[in-house]
C-alpha cells in the first residue's frame, strides 16, 4: 500500500501553470526521485505536500486518508519533514539550540543534546550538539537539518537537492543514512538533477517537464542519458573532446600567493599550475575556498606579483584587466548580476563592457555603438540567448540566459586563455550542454581553459586534468582519465570532523 498518493494536482500562478494534472505515488519505504529542470514544477509540487502552497485542484491522500495541509506545521504533524536546499540555521547558536528552534514543542536542552547524540549515532551522522553552527561545514549543517527532521519521526522525508553542497565522501555518508531510514520504513522524496545519484539511490523516478508528468521510470534500469532526454524533452548533444595533442604552456602560475581581499575572503597560498594550449584544466572545491580570489588574480581585478602569473613568457601578474584582455586572457566570474554583467545596463552595453578592448569597439575613446550592437546580436544569435532584443537590460533575462550571454561574450572574443568560474550554475541541462561544448570547441581551437566549478560531474566531463582548491591551496593537478570519486574526495580535503560512516545495519 502506498504512503502518499497525489491525483491530478494542478496549481497555476498568473501566467504560468506550475503543476498541470500531476499524479504521483510514493510507497512505504520507497526512495522516490523527482526529476526535472529548473522551472519544471518540482518546487511547487513539494510545497503543496509540505503545506506551503494550496493547490487549485487535485487530491492528496496520506495513509489512505485525505491530506490537505493548511500550513507546514500541519504537514509536519501528519509526518512530513523537509530538508531545504538552503539551510535555515542561525550561525551564532549551537547545533542543539538550532534544533530546538525548529521543533514545535522543544524538550529541555539537555534532552535535545541527548536525542541528537542518539540519532546521530544511530544513523551514522557524526555531529556534536554543542558545536556552534557557524563553525560547521556545509555537509555538517545539512546533518543538523536532517537530524531536526528525524527527531520528529517522519513518515515521509523530502530532500531538495541535498548533494549540491557536499563532497563525495559526505554524499556517501548521506546515502548510507537514507538507506538506513528506508530500511526502517521511512519514505523519501528525493529531488535532484544529478542523474547518477538517482540511479544509485532511488527505487522509482517521476519526471516533470513544464509542470506535467512526462514519464516515470525505474532509475536502476534506465540510463542517465535516457532520463536526461526525458527531462529535457529532446535529444541531448554529447560533448566531445578532440583528443588533439596539447600545445605549449599558455598560462603558468608560480607560487601565487595573495592576502584575503576583504574580511570574508580567502587568502591564496602558493598556487602553482600550468595550462597548455588546447587543454581544459578543471578546478573543483566547495565554494568559499578561494575560487573568487583565484579568478580575480587571473582576470586582473586583484593585482599580484608580476611573476606569479605568466602568459606565454610574459609576466602579467601586475597588469590591469584590459591589458590582459588585449594579450588574450578573458575571464567570466561566477556572479552574473553586478560582477560579470551590470544588471541595469542593456545587453549592448554589457557586450561593450569586456569586448571593447579585443574587438576594438572604441575609436580614440569614442564608443562604436553600431559595432557593439552587432557584437551583442552575434552573441545572442550564436548562444541562443532568449531576449526580445539586445536593448533589454541584463536583469530582465533569466539567470540561464544571462549566463549564456556572459560566457558567449568571452568565448566570442576568441581568447588564448579563458578562465570561467561556475560556467553552468543555474543553467538548464540543454543550455549547460551547449556551454560545455562551446568551452571544448574553444580548447580544440588551441585555447587554454581554466574551469572552476563545484559540479564535479561537469569537471570530469570536460577537463583534461583536475585539481582541487581547498582553503586557498591548490592540489597537484591530475589527469581526469581514471580518477575515481574517492580520489577526488581526498583531493578536496573533505570537511573537518569527517569520519567513516558507522551505520549499524
Amino acid at each position: 500500500m502506498s504512503l502518499l498518493t497525489i491525483e491530478n494536482l494542478t496549481k497555476a500562478y498568473p501566467g504560468v501553470v506550475a503543476n498541470n494534472d500531476v499524479s504521483l505515488e510514493i510507497g512505504r519505504g520507497e526512495i522516490h526521485a523527482l526529476l526535472g529542470e529548473n522551472g519544471a514544477g518540482k518546487s511547487t509540487l513539494v510545497k503543496a505536500i509540505y503545506g506551503l502552497v494550496k493547490p487549485d485542484a487535485g487530491k492528496m491522500t496520506l495513509n489512505g486518508a485525505d491530506f490537505e495541509p493548511a500550513n507546514p506545521s500541519a504537514a509536519r504533524a501528519a509526518g512530513i519533514a523537509m530538508v531545504f536546499q538552503h539551510f535555515s540555521l542561525f550561525d551564532a547558536l549551537t547545533v542543539a539550540e538550532n534544533i530546538a528552534l525548529g521543533l514545535e514543542n522543544p524538550p529541555p536542552q539537555a534532552q535535545i543534546s541527548e536525542d541528537v547524540r542518539k540519532v546521530s549515532d544511530q544513523y551514522g551522522l557524526p555531529l556534536d550538539p554543542e558545536m556552534i553552527v557557524g563553525d560547521l561545514s556545509a555537509g555538517e549543517r545539512q546533518r543538523v537539518e536532517i537530524i531536526r527532521c528525524l527527531l520528529q519521526d517522519p513518515k515521509l522525508l523530502i530532500m531538495d537537492e541535498p548533494t549540491s553542497v557536499l563532497t563525495p565522501q559526505e554524499v556517501t555518508i548521506l546515502f548510507e543514512t537514507l538507506r538506513k531510514l528506508q530500511s526502517e520504513g521511512t519514505s523519501i522524496l528525493y529531488i535532484s538533477h544529478k542523474l547518477e545519484e538517482i540511479r544509485a539511490l532511488c527505487d522509482n523516478a517521476t519526471v516533470l517537464r513544464l509542470g506535467q508528468v512526462v514519464g516515470t521510470c525505474d532509475p536502476r534500469r534506465t540510463s542517465a542519458r535516457d532520463m536526461a532526454e526525458l527531462m529535457v524533452g529532446m535529444a541531448l548533444q554529447i560533448t566531445s573532446k578532440s583528443g588533439k595533442p596539447l600545445g605549449d604552456v599558455a598560462l603558468r602560475l608560480s607560487n601565487l600567493t595573495a592576502g584575503a581581499p576583504h574580511q570574508f575572503g580567502t587568502a591564496l597560498k602558493h598556487i602553482s599550475l600550468e595550462v597548455r594550449k588546447g587543454e581544459v584544466l578543471g578546478i573543483g572545491g566547495v565554494a568559499g575556498n578561494g575560487q573568487d580570489e583565484l579568478v580575480a588574480a587571473l582576470s586582473g581585478e586583484m593585482k599580484v606579483g608580476a611573476q606569479m602569473v605568466v602568459m606565454g613568457d610574459i609576466p602579467i601578474g601586475a597588469l590591469p584587466p584590459n591589458k590582459r584582455r588585449a594579450m588574450g586572457l578573458c575571464a567570466a566570474p561566477e556572479e552574473r548580476n553586478g560582477h560579470a554583467a551590470a544588471p541595469d545596463m542593456t545587453l549592448v552595453e554589457n557586450a561593450l563592457m569586456t569586448g571593447a578592448t579585443r574587438l576594438s569597439l572604441t575609436r580614440n575613446g569614442f564608443l562604436q555603438w553600431d559595432k557593439a550592437r552587432a557584437f551583442a546580436d552575434a552573441i545572442i544569435e550564436t548562444f541562443d540567448v532568449r531576449t526580445p532584443s539586445a536593448n533589454n537590460t541584463a536583469r530582465s533575462l533569466s539567470g540561464g540566459n544571462l549566463q549564456k550571454f556572459v560566457i558567449g561574450r568571452e568565448i566570442m572574443q576568441n581568447p588564448d586563455v579563458l578562465v570561467i568560474n561556475q560556467p553552468t550554475w543555474g543553467v538548464d541541462a540543454s543550455a549547460a550542454a551547449s556551454i560545455r561544448q562551446a568551452i571544448l570547441d574553444l580548447a580544440n581551437n588551441g585555447a587554454a581553459v581554466v574551469v572552476i566549478s563545484q559540479d564535479l560531474d561537469e569537471l570530469m566531463e570536460i577537463s583534461d586534468r583536475f585539481a582541487a582548491l581547498n582553503e586557498g591551496k591548490l592540489s597537484e593537478p591530475r589527469p581526469t582519465q581514471g580518477l575515481t570519486m574517492e580520489e577526488i574526495g581526498l583531493m578536496l580535503g573533505g570537511a573537518h570532523g569527517m569520519e567513516v560512516a558507522h551505520v549499524d545495519a
Binding site: P343, E349, G365
Partner: protein, 359 residues
C-alpha cells in the same frame, strides 16, 4: 495592501514624467505651505513660476534667468559625472568660492593692464583653483579612504572663511576707503565678463554652460569615460572587472566637478557679482545638487532644471518684495522639489501593486 514591485526594465515613461509630476506636486504642496504662512497660495505660486516669464516686467526678469541659470547648470553638469559614478561631491560651493578667488587674484594682479590675455587667464586660474580645491577630498579618498562627502562639505566652510579673509585683507580694494571687498572687476574692461549682447543676460558664463552641456552629452553617450562613469555607479564590481580604475575615476569626477564649479565662480566674480566680498557666495553650489538630480543627471535635463531653479530664485525674489514671503520659504520650496522628485522617482523603477493580505 500597497506593494512595490520592481520593474524588470525601468519605465521610460516615468523616467521622463517624474520631474514634471514632481514640479506639479511641489506647486500644490508649496501652495499649501504658503497658505499656512498666510499668503494667497495661487498668487504666490503664480508669482514664483510665471511672473518672471510672462508678467509685464518680464523683459527685466528674462535676462536674469540666464544669469542665475548659467552657474547652476555649469556646476550641476560637473556634479552629474560624480553622482553617476557614486562619487559624492557635496562641496561644489567651496570649489565655486575658490574658483572666484583664484580668478579674482589673477584679475587684480594684472590691474590695470589693458590686455586681451587677462580674461582667458582668469578662466584658467578659476578652473584650476576649483580643481585643486576638489583634489583635497579626492586625494584623501584615494589615499586614505576618507569620506568625500564630509571632506568636501567641510571644505566649503574653510573656503568661506578664506574668502572673508581675502575680502578683508590681501584682496581689499586699496581705493575702497576701508570698506571690505575687492575692486570691482566688472568695471575693469580686460577682466570683465560682460554681456555679449547688451540687455540679453548672455554673458560668457552662459556660453560656457551651453558648451558644458554639449560636452557632457557627448561624453556620457559616446565616450568610454562616460560609459565607465555610468558602469562604476551602477555596479562597482562589474566596473572593476571591466577594467575601470576606481582611483582614477574618483580623481577625474572630482576634477571635472571642481573645475566647472571653479569656472562658474570665475564668471560670477568677473560679471554679475563683480567683486570678492565677505559672504559673496549665495549657495549656487548647493542648489546645483538639486538641479543635477532634478535633471536626472542628464545634460539636457540639467539645462531644463537649471532654468526652472533659476526661475524659483527670481520668482522668489519677486514674491519676497511684492508679497512679503520670507526667503526661507523659497529655500523650503526648492528643497521640497528634490524631496518630492526622489519620491516620485520610485515609480520609474517600481510599479505599485494593490495586493490582498494573503501572499
Amino acid at each position: 495592501m500597497l506593494m512595490l514591485e520592481k520593474r524588470s526594465n525601468p519605465s521610460r515613461g516615468w523616467t521622463y514624467a517624474s520631474p514634471i509630476v514632481a514640479v506639479i506636486l511641489t506647486m500644490i504642496l508649496g501652495g499649501i505651505v504658503f497658505a499656512i504662512l498666510g499668503k494667497p497660495p495661487l498668487e504666490t505660486i503664480r508669482t514664483i513660476f510665471f511672473d518672471p516669464l510672462f508678467s509685464e516686467f518680464a523683459w527685466f526678469y528674462r535676462p536674469q534667468l540666464l544669469i542665475k541659470g548659467a552657474p547652476l547648470v555649469l556646476i550641476a553638469i560637473g556634479l552629474s559625472f560624480g553622482f553617476r559614478a557614486g562619487v559624492w561631491n557635496i562641496g561644489a560651493e567651496g570649489q565655486y568660492i575658490m574658483g572666484a578667488l583664484g580668478a579674482a587674484a589673477v584679475g587684480l594682479a594684472f590691474y590695470p593692464t589693458d590686455s586681451w590675455i587677462v580674461f582667458p587667464l582668469m578662466i584658467i586660474a578659476g578652473t584650476l583653483s576649483g580643481i585643486l580645491w576638489a583634489m583635497i577630498p579626492a586625494v584623501l579618498r584615494v589615499k586614505f579612504k576618507t569620506n568625500e562627502i564630509l571632506v568636501s562639505l567641510m571644505l566649503v566652510y574653510v573656503a568661506e572663511r578664506f574668502a572673508a579673509s581675502m575680502a578683508l585683507g590681501a584682496m581689499r580694494n586699496p581705493d575702497g576707503m576701508g570698506f571690505p571687498g575687492s575692486r570691482n572687476l566688472s568695471q575693469y574692461p580686460s577682466a570683465a565678463n560682460l554681456e555679449i549682447f547688451a540687455g540679453s543676460g548672455m554673458h560668457w558664463g552662459v556660453v560656457a554652460a551651453f558648451i558644458a552641456v554639449i560636452f557632457a552629452y557627448v561624453t556620457l553617450s559616446r565616450h568610454i569615460l562616460g560609459f565607465q562613469v555610468r558602469l562604476a555607479g551602477q555596479s562597482p564590481r562589474a566596473a572593476a572587472f571591466a577594467g575601470v580604475n576606481p582611483a582614477r575615476l574618483i580623481l577625474i569626477c572630482l576634477g571635472i566637478s571642481g573645475g566647472l564649479a571653479g569656472m562658474a565662480g570665475m564668471f560670477e566674480v568677473a560679471g554679475p557679482l563683480g567683486q570678492v566680498n565677505v559672504g559673496f557666495n549665495v549657495g549656487y553650489g548647493f542648489t546645483a545638487i538639486i538641479v543635477a538630480f532634478l535633471g536626472r543627471l542628464h545634460p539636457v535635463g540639467i539645462l531644463l532644471s537649471g532654468g526652472l531653479m533659476a526661475l524659483t530664485y527670481i520668482g522668489g525674489e519677486i514674491a519676497q518684495s511684492n508679497l512679503g514671503l520670507p526667503s526661507a520659504a523659497i529655500q523650503l520650496l526648492q528643497g521640497m522639489l528634490l524631496f518630492i522628485l526622489l519620491m516620485v522617482d520610485v515609480l520609474a523603477n517600481y510599479r505599485i501593486r494593490f495586493a490582498a493580505g494573503e501572499k
